[in-house]
């Protein structure tokens, strides 16, 4: 009965939403104009990066906070781990992982740099690095992580702390996250570099902090 009710209302919902979408008139406001108009002053030349790191940079600040927070919550939930023994893997996989990792690092650095003028940026670069970490773990070359020590905590929080520091510094000069046009490109690259490292560690951590032998109570 519940199943029927939920499926019926879902179908009804999709139907009315589809009909409403099809009859929609063009939007009143088009933001592509303002985005393009201010692109020169934004410090980057790719519009999506400009929106992400400059026009709506505040969203990005909070989003990094969400990711760091999720890691914290996972640490709080998982508690003290058992012994972290990396599982032995097939030698071919281990060799491939060893070969792939430097390539992935190069790709990540390229993505970080390219974000200024084509699709790319801190998130993409961080994700590739994190994937390298996960690959190494699955190949048995990188053990799962225990409760983070100071160095790892600094790495995890460093990118966000850098972003906050830049934001605070800019606030002291006037408005939150208002980059001076001459410094905008450099500041954005600085922030993105810090974020890449922290994001890589955080995203890898989302996997590696969980991937320990759970000791059943």
């Amino acid at each position: 009965m519940k199943r029927f009710a939920v499926i019926a209302s879902a179908l009804l919902f999709v139907g009315s939403l589809a009909a409403a979408m099809l009859e929609l008139a063009p939007a009143a406001i088009d933001l592509r104009g303002p985005v393009a108009a201010h692109l020169a002053a934004s410090g980057v030349s790719h519009p999506v990066t400009a929106v992400l790191l400059n026009y709506r940079g505040y969203d990005t600040l909070l989003e990094i906070a969400v990711l760091l927070l999720a890691l914290l919550a996972i640490l709080a939930v998982v508690g003290e781990p058992g012994a972290a023994r990396p599982a032995p893997a097939h030698p071919v996989l281990q060799t491939l992982a060893r070969l792939a990792t430097p390539l992935m690092i190069v790709v990540a650095v390229y993505l970080l740099w390219a974000g200024a003028f084509r699709p790319g940026g801190a998130f993409q670069a961080g994700a590739v690095l994190a994937a390298a970490g996960v690959l190494l773990h699955l190949a048995g070359l990188l053990p799962g992580w225990q409760t983070p020590r100071l160095r790892l905590r600094l790495g995890l929080a460093g990118g966000f702390a850098l972003f906050l520091a830049v934001a605070g510094g800019l606030l002291a000069q006037g408005t939150l996250l208002q980059y001076p046009p001459a410094l905008a490109g450099g500041l954005i690259l600085l922030i993105e570099s810090g974020l890449t490292l922290s994001l890589a560690l955080t995203l890898a951590g989302l996997f590696l902090f969980l991937s320990r032998d759970e000791v059943a109570p």
Partner: protein, 100 residues
């Protein structure tokens, strides 16, 4: 029917599928997958509907990038909780509420 509008319609369908999944499915991992489906549906609608006249719009694309990161964070937390529950009870469904 432009591609943007098609994406939006598919996104709406995926969203509804995802919500139905979260509500109806008991197996926790599949529930988390359903939630991801729901999120992907919403992102498709965000990008597709804004670009229904065929011209790319950078603002919703940036918003979806933000949304994806947030969804990753939420999924990771859900998985950690599921794993902990499995370690404690050996099962992958939510236990009945004991105190009601």
């Amino acid at each position: 029917m432009t591609s943007g509008l098609l994406f939006a319609l598919v996104g709406a369908a995926l969203f509804a599928l995802g919500v139905a999944g979260v509500v109806l499915i008991d197996h926790l991992l599949r529930r988390i997958l359903a939630f991801n489906l729901m999120g992907s549906g919403a992102f498709l609608v965000l990008v597709g509907l804004a670009q229904r006249n065929g011209v790319p719009d950078p603002v919703p694309q940036a918003m979806v990038l933000t949304g994806i990161v947030v969804a990753v964070a939420a999924t990771a937390l859900a998985l950690a909780l599921t794993r902990k529950l499995h370690a404690l009870t050996g099962r992958l469904e939510l236990p009945e509420d004991a105190d009601d």
